[in-house]
Symmetry: C2
Subunit: 155 residues, 2 copies
């Protein structure tokens, strides 16, 4: 399996960034996973949100290739960790494409990106900050790989 | 409103601990919130899980008083962040008791504790490590208070 994780810009919170880096390392011990921080719209007022979304969408799309795209979306499908692991395993086997996760910036993801997605995934009914969501996604990806590969990991 | 958050032992991951401390501070700018790290069963093999649970349950119960107890439990009720905020507001007003959140250790919570709970809350269908769940709970508590008090916070 080959995973990519895309989101616009750096993670500003230092502690969350360290935790994310540490999960990327752990995931790479089990499988290939590349974290790509795509172009972030900087210095534009939040009033011009459509311009921000336009820039960030374009930055994300550049890396989509022919991948199987999974977007994090609050109205997406919820799965438990076991179902998520089986879903990833099945998707990788069937499509033979890289599986690419996309997490939005603080404004979320544009309609166009959501429409391109092969799958919309929700981590929770609750809304978490987009930086914490990034961490939660990587924790689940790591957990899924430990399940697929039969390794032990935290309950 | 008065909140307490209980869990057995310290949070070992340094970054998660810092993030938790930072949320406790932020919450305390909006309302009273006390984080109590209760007795942890140390030096007992995981084979003796019932003994660990026994010690940790006793440690938690010491702080229950007459509080409205909300236990984190994977089969509990899911709410979105807005519903969670309204639920906390209503519960505090109606019961006039402190609202106490309880998060288990790596083995989870004992049946006895779950039975004593006034409410079982699930943050997600997915299983997150118990340390990350602690952080997720505090982020949601902070988010709920910003909703109740009409403050702005991350989307």
């Amino acid at each position: 399996m080959m995973f990519k994780v895309l989101w616009p810009g750096k993670t500003h919170d230092k502690e969350i960034r360290h935790l994310i880096d540490s999960y990327v390392k752990k995931i790479n011990r089990l499988d290939k996973c590349q974290l790509i921080q795509t172009k972030e719209a900087k210095g534009i007022s939040e009033k011009h949100s459509s311009r921000i979304m336009e820039i960030e969408s374009y930055g994300l799309e550049k890396y989509f290739n022919n991948d199987y795209i999974i977007c994090l979306f609050h109205k997406g499908k919820q799965m438990d960790s076991m179902e998520f692991a089986r879903f990833l395993e099945k998707t990788s086997l069937q499509s033979a494409r890289a599986v690419t996760f996309v997490v939005g910036g603080f404004l979320g993801l544009e309609e166009r990106i959501l429409k391109r997605a092969d799958f919309l995934l929700s981590l929770s009914k609750m809304t978490f900050s987009h930086e914490l969501s990034r961490l939660m996604l990587l924790e689940q990806l790591y957990r899924a790989l430990t399940i697929i590969k039969g390794r032990q990991y935290a309950k």
